[in-house]
Structures are given as C-alpha cells and as structure tokens.
C-alpha cells in the first residue's frame, strides 16, 4: 500500500504530462493497418478497418462490445490471421505469421482476459515464451532477478516465486503488464487493462505509460472508461460493427462525440434521473456475517426498492461478501434476516429459494452456460418450478425467455441462440433476465457493467432503476465510482475486507469515497 499512498499524495496528473510530451504530428507513423477484414461464422468481426499509429503516441481504440477492437488487436499481435488487409511496420509491409513474429517486431499485447498459467510462478509467467535459457536449459535465477525488476516497475511487491493462481485479479493484471513491459516493445497494446485494476494500480499504470511515451514507445489503449481515454489519449479511433467510423485528435475528442460515434446516435442521459429514495421497509438485513478468511464480521441492511452501492478497491472484499450472502461459501458466523426470518445460507440454493439472487462478477465463468441457448439459460434456476414438474415444457420456457428478451431488449436473433455467440453486454442482460424471470426480492449485481460498452451500460442502468422502482432491493457492486454515485441511494465503502462506512449518497463526493477506500 506504501506505493499507492505516495502516488495519491503527489497527485501528479499524468494525463497532462502525457499529452504535453506528445509531438504526434511530427513523429513518424510506425504502424499502419489497411483494409483489415476478419470473418467468423455468422459475424463479420472486422470489415476494411484501417489504423495508423505514430511513434510515442497513445492511441485509444473505442467501440461498443463486439465492435471488433480485441479482434483487431489480436491480428496485430499475430494471434489471429486476417482474411484480408495489409500491415506495415516502419513503412515496410509485414506478413504477421505468429505471435513470436509480432514479438520480434516489437509488438506486445496485454489481453482483455487474464492470461496467466495459474500453476506457474510469477517469474515463469513473465518470461513465458521468452525464457532465458542456455542450450535449452532454463536460467531460473536470471529470470527471477529480471522479473523482480519488472515487478518493482509496476509496483508489485510480492515474491516472484508466488504461483500466479494465488494472486488477485488486479495483481494478475499487473503481472501481465510487467510481462508486456519485459518484452521492451515499441508498440504496446493494452486491451481494457484497468477493468480489474484498483485506482492506485491504474495510476501506477498511467505513470508507466507516461515514461514509455517519453522513451518513444507507442501505445494502443482500449477502454470503456471515458475519463481514462480523455485523459490519456493523443488520438482516438472509433469502431462500430467492425468498421472505422472516425478518427480524431485529443482536442476534438469530447466524450459526447466519441459516444455518439460509438453508438451511432447521441446519448445524453447516462444515468436515470436522480430520485429521492425514502423507503423504510428493510428487505434484507445482514448481521455479523463472518466471511471466510476475513477478520471482522460485517453488518448492513438494504431496504425494499433501494439501490445500495458497494464501492471499494479491487480486493476490498465485495465479491466475497455478496457471494457469502448468496451462499457460495458458507459464512463462519452471523446470519441474514429476510422478511423477518433468520437464516444462514450454505449454498446458492438457499438464497435463491428465498428470493436473493446474484449476478456474479465473472459472468462467463459463473453466470452462464455458454453452450446453451438464451432460453435454457434464463430458465435454468427456475425450471424446476414450471408445471408440470415431471416434464419439460419448451413452449413455456420459450415464452418466459421471450418475455425477458423483450423487456430487457436483449439483442439476440432468437431465444434459441447459444449464449456463447452473444456479445458481452448482451450476455450480461441474459444473466439479468434469468433472475428477473423469478421475481427477485433482493438482487445483487457484482460489477454488472464490467466490460460492457456505454450504450449497453446506459440500458442496464435504466433497467436497474426500474427494478428498484418496482420495489426490489438492489445491491450494486462496482469499482467505478462514477457509476456508484450515479446509481446508488446509499453507498457502502469497503476497505481491507471490512465495511469502512455507509453513507447516504448526497453526503458523499467522489473525493470522500476515494479517500475512504484507501483509508485516509
């Protein structure tokens, strides 16, 4: 935490210095992609996309979910072969054959998904594919020595011998960044790097980016967070439905402009209009719940119709808490009171039976069966209650699913479509749909907009508010402070796996929350 606090105190606006050093128009184009096309069965991921990158420039690539950003980056990193198009590095056309080839050309990619081998230690992961070796024999000492340097660089003060599987998501992401840095790339691609990073970790990353820029490294930066883009990017390229829709300089790139390009229309109201929540019926009361592995029990309550926001740094223990309430890991002590009845959840079944639902943080891993259709996913928790019980009723199932598809405006060709084929935001709506079909009393949403594009985000916000208005108690976990402030009626701030404070929204500002989160 030492590093974090220092960064916080010095309060350098790296965004400013980033752009101050940019001499983009003067610096040469080192990478140019032309006419890139990539088709997947049923989808055209990219169609005739072009992109230029200058030396020492931070280029933001923006677009909704499924716009093709990650695909474009995978092509650039040699992981995916384009169907058509050319890539020039330093003015010379290159045929990117493989990832190794791209690495050789000085291109490094930090993936959107965490990509570490959990069974290997940090050093092994950092050097994976670029091992120091003599005659095929690993030089482990050298790799640990070198890794230490890179870990320090990203501000991770843990042993290089720690298996990656024991790290938190944020730490994993920092290791991946360290790995990319270790390649000493000329072109560094960061695909949504901050989605699992804490505030201070993000700052650390931005600081590193500034230094790299000074050294003439070019960076392609992908994020759904508008503030970051506005702060960091020298220029912005926007994709929509796999096509170029615009490119602009830092000066022209206003939030509104980017968003309207991304979604193809103007988008004004992000969050539903503010409301004054006055409900008093307590829907769910958590009393002295002792989450496994934490030091002190927590207590809080949420009222019917209320949106209770949970803010905190990554690893603050929010996911643990909601999963304990949901019964994923039974608590060591304490209980939950729902509608006047006490119970201690020991499995999601318990919670679900009582009307407490959770849309988990990792929807692909815990939320959805990707190989099943939209309808089957939506019916999964409730199908046992369809009548008659001894026989599935596909027609009823389809009807229930269709209802949710209509209500939530889930973008799918049919309820029979496999969920794995849908974009991230759409998948998130399916998760919502599966719980909404069951009339929740308490709905817990863990990072419901992570990796979801702005258009879909606004849509999800609106729907959450509608649910709250309908009297459902909502627990809304998010790492985006703006989101918390935009949505919550009350804010719970968590730090070090404890509740650091509960405040009505109007009594807190972004600054206060940030300070509480890091313990100042």
């Amino acid at each position: 935490m030492g590093q974090t606090q220092k960064a916080q105190r010095t309060k350098i606006d790296w965004g400013e210095s980033l752009s101050a050093n940019a001499t983009q128009s003067a610096s040469p184009v080192i990478l140019s992609m032309r006419g890139i096309t990539k088709r997947y069965p049923g989808v055209i991921a990219l169609s005739d996309v072009s992109l230029d990158l200058r030396r020492g420039e931070v280029l933001a690539v923006m677009g909704e979910n499924g716009a093709g950003k990650s695909t474009l980056m995978k092509i650039l990193s040699g992981a995916v072969m384009p169907d058509m198009g050319t890539i020039e590095v330093d003015g010379k056309p290159v045929a990117l054959q493989s990832i190794a080839h791209a690495t050789l050309l000085g291109i490094a990619l930090v993936h959107q998904e965490l990509m570490l081998a959990n069974n290997l230690d940090i050093a092994a992961n950092i050097f994976l594919g670029a091992e120091s070796a003599r005659l095929g024999m690993l030089d482990k000492a050298a790799m640990h020595r070198e890794s230490r340097k890179w870990l320090d660089r990203v501000g991770l003060h843990i042993s290089t011998r720690t298996p990656a599987g024991l790290l938190t998501a944020g730490q994993m992401q920092m290791v991946e960044i360290a790995k990319a840095l270790s390649h000493k790339a000329r072109i560094l691609i960061l695909d949504e790097p901050t989605s699992s990073l804490s505030h201070s970790e993000s700052e650390q990353l931005f600081r590193i980016m500034a230094e790299l820029k000074l050294q003439g490294v070019s960076i392609i930066y992908i994020s759904h967070r508008m503030e970051e883009v506005q702060r960091l990017a020298d220029s912005v390229t926007v994709l929509r439905d796999g096509k170029n829709v615009g490119h602009m300089d830092r000066t022209e790139a206003t939030k509104e402009k980017i968003v309207s390009m991304m979604v193809g229309r103007a988008l004004n109201n992000w969050y539903p209009p503010k409301r004054n929540f006055t409900g008093q019926t307590v829907a769910l009361k958590v009393e002295n719940l002792h989450v496994v592995g934490t030091k002190s029990p927590v207590s809080f309550d949420v009222r019917a119709g209320e949106i209770l926001g949970f803010a905190g740094l990554v690893g603050a223990g929010r996911t643990e808490l909601v999963e304990t309430v949901f019964g994923v890991t039974p608590p060591l002590g304490g209980h939950i009171e729902l509608g006047g009845r006490h119970f201690t959840p020991t499995a999601p079944r318990d919670a679900i039976k009582r009307g407490i639902y959770l849309a988990p943080e990792d929807r692909k891993r815990n939320g959805l069966v990707l190989g099943m259709s939209v309808a089957k996913n939506i019916s999964l928790p409730d199908i046992n209650n369809y009548l008659p019980r001894w026989m599935l009723r596909p027609s009823v199932e389809q009807r229930v699913a269709q209802q949710q598809v209509d209500q939530l405006r889930i973008k799918t060709p049919s309820t029979r479509q496999l969920v794995g084929m849908l974009s991230g935001g759409t998948q998130q709506k399916v998760v919502l749909g599966k719980w909404l079909a069951m009339k929740p009393k308490v709905l817990m949403l863990d990072e419901p907009t992570r990796g979801v594009d702005v258009g879909a985000k606004a849509e999800i916000y609106r729907q959450i508010r509608e649910l709250a208005d309908a009297g459902i108690a909502i627990i809304f976990v998010s790492s985006e402070m703006e989101e918390i402030l935009g949505m919550a009626d009350r804010v719970v701030i968590m730090r070090d796996r404890k509740i650091a404070g509960i405040y009505p929204r109007d009594e807190v500002s972004q600054e206060v929350i940030a300070a509480k989160m890091i313990g100042e």
């Binding site: 999601p348 079944r349 891993r365 990707l370 999964l380």
Partner: protein, 343 residues
C-alpha cells in the same frame, strides 16, 4: 442432430455394404442377434453417456458387469459353487451391489472432489477384484437354470426365435427412460447444464452434487442391468467377463456424438453409436467376398477375427475425424458464403 444424421447414414451405408457382401446379414437370425448385442451394449452406453454428459467418465462399468454376473451365479446358480438361493435374490443382491458402488463412486467424485477418471480407474480394479475374491478365481455356470433364457427368449416368437429378445426390450426401455430423463425432464437439463458449466450451474442454485451423484448411480445401475443380461447370455460367470466393455461403451457414446468435454449428447446418438460398434463387430464375421482363384475355382474370402481390433479402432478414429472434417467444411462454406455476400 447434424452429427447423428451423418453417423446414421454411415451405419446405413455399412449395413448396405454388408448386405451386398452377404445376404444373410439381413437374415432374420442375424438381425435378432444384432439387436440383442446392440441391446446389451446399448444399456451400458446409455448409463455411461449420462456421466459423460456431466463432464465425468465412468471406467468401472465393465467391472460392474463382471461383478453382477458373479454375484448372481454365486448366490443363485443351481450348479456347483452356487448357493442355490432363488434367482430373484441373486438378481436383487447384484443390483443392490451396483447401486452401492454407484453411490460410493458418486460420493467420492462429488463430496471428496476426486477426479472421476481416477475414482473409476480404481473402481475398475477393486470391483473386479471383489468379483475375483468372491468367485475365488473360478467360473460358475448357470447350468440349466431358467435364468439362461433371459437373453434368448423374449416377446413375439417366430419358431424358436423371439423377435424382441429381453436384452433388446431392456434396451428399448432404457432408451425410452433415458431419452425421457435426458431430454424431457429437469434432471436431464441439469445434467447438460452441469456438463456445460459446473460453476454456472452451482450459481444458478442447481443441486450440482446430487445431480452428479445420480449420474454415477444410474451408470452403475445400467451396468448392473447389462451385467444381468450378459451373464444370461454367456451362461457362465467368471472373473474375465466384461473386460474392456467400459471402453466399448465410451466409444459407442462418443461415436454417437456425446462429447467427452461434457454438456453434449443425445439418446438417438447413443443408439446410433452403439449400432455402429455392433454392426462392425458382426460385420467382421459376416463380410465375405467371392472371387475366382488362379485355377478358376470359386473361392470365398473372409476376414480373420484378428482384424477385429484394428477395424474397430479405425472406425472409431474415422468417425471422429469425419465429424471434425464435416465441421470444418461447414464452417469454411459459411465463411465463403458470407464473403460472397459482402463482396
């Protein structure tokens, strides 16, 4: 169903070819025989499929077939070595044993979190081991007991032959029950969901462990039932019966489109896969070729039985390769069509 269709066509082609080579292939006698074999392996394959659909595997079913036969023989055979109890006692004890084994293995997998492969690999050995210990390394014959009629007789007799032998009727029942369970009940849906994504199933409130346990229990029970039929078919119980049948059952399931990764498969596919295995098996004897030798005599060529393993293995490989290739081709076609539309 695309995969099932492809395999069904393949089976049909092989049948046509065999019929062309030897008209007896479609003879009443051979058909009934084939149906019975399909029945006995099929019951086994259905149970195995349920487990595979949850993403697990059951290597112990061959050993259960063995143990079932040994138990029935030991308890109820009227011959030497048997204890002469009524047949229903032997059968009940055998099925009870299968049930207990299923529960035991299921609990190890679900409650202890052990890997199905290793649990049932251990099972493959200790279950057969128990059979060996019980029978003390011998065989016990069912002799002239009426139990031996089980595999031979059935409904709708034509002369000596039952058109629907009991093993086949058992299979039909298993198909109906299995198909209902797998495709029309909540339980079946849960099996697929667990195989598709265990965590998501758990987070959706499914009783994951109980459902999985059920699959191992059903697998053991079907193995027990199949074991009864095999015992009656062989009319003899010994420690080597059922050796390797788990692999045949798995192969039948996989050929029929049940994915070893879990979450995929149909009862129809299992029927087709089992038919493929048994048609090949039967075809190796039935296949013949008439030719004239150098002296102009008419000669008939037959395949030696030592070709059996080679052909079975090759067919399994060809089936999965064929499936994968057709997958690739379909993909390629769709991409081309897409490109054409765009251009």
């Amino acid at each position: 169903m695309r995969r099932e269709l492809g395999m069904a066509v393949a089976v049909a082609v092989i049948c046509a070819f065999l019929w062309y080579s030897n008209h007896h292939f479609i003879g009443q006698y051979n058909i009934l025989d084939l149906l019975r074999s399909v029945g006995m392996l099929g019951i086994l394959a259905i149970g195995s499929s349920l487990v595979i659909i949850t993403g697990g595997i059951d290597l112990s079913v061959g050993a259960i077939v063995c143990l079932t036969g040994v138990l029935i023989a030991k308890i109820s055979s009227p011959s030497t070595g048997g204890l002469h109890y009524p047949m229903w006692i032997g059968i009940s004890v055998a099925l009870l044993a299968a049930l207990l084994i299923g529960i035991f293995q299921g609990l190890l997998v679900t409650r202890m979190g052990l890997q199905p492969f290793i649990v049932t690999l251990g099972g493959l050995m200790w279950i057969r081991g128990i059979a060996e210990v019980i029978i003390n390394g011998r065989t016990i014959s069912f002799g002239s007991s009426s139990f031996t009629n089980l595999a031979n007789s059935g409904l709708l007799n034509i002369g000596h032959e039952a058109i629907f032998s009991y093993p086949f009727l058992g299979f039909v029942a298993a198909v109906i029950l299995g198909g209902y369970l797998l495709h029309m009940t909540v339980y079946g849906r849960y099996l697929f969901a667990i195989g598709g994504n265990r965590d998501a199933a758990y987070y959706s409130g499914l009783p994951v462990k109980r459902v999985e346990l059920g699959a191992y229990v059903i697998s053991a029970l079907t193995a027990g039932i199949s074991g009864i039929f095999y015992a009656s078919f062989i009319q003899d119980a010994g420690p080597t019966v059922g050796h390797g049948y788990e692999l045949y059952a798995i192969a039948a399931a996989v050929i029929g489109g049940v994915s070893l990764r879990g979450g995929e498969g149909t009862i129809v596919g299992v029927i087709i896969g089992t038919s493929m295995m048994e048609v090949i098996n039967n075809g190796i004897t039935m296949f013949q070729w008439h030719y004239h030798n150098s002296k102009g005599h008419l000669r008939t060529f037959h395949l030696g039985t030592h070709w059996q393993d080679f052909i079975t293995g090759a067919v399994i490989l060809l089936a999965v390769i064929f499936d994968q290739v057709s997958h690739f081709v379909a993909r390629r076609k769709r991409l081309k069509a897409q490109a054409a539309k765009t251009a």
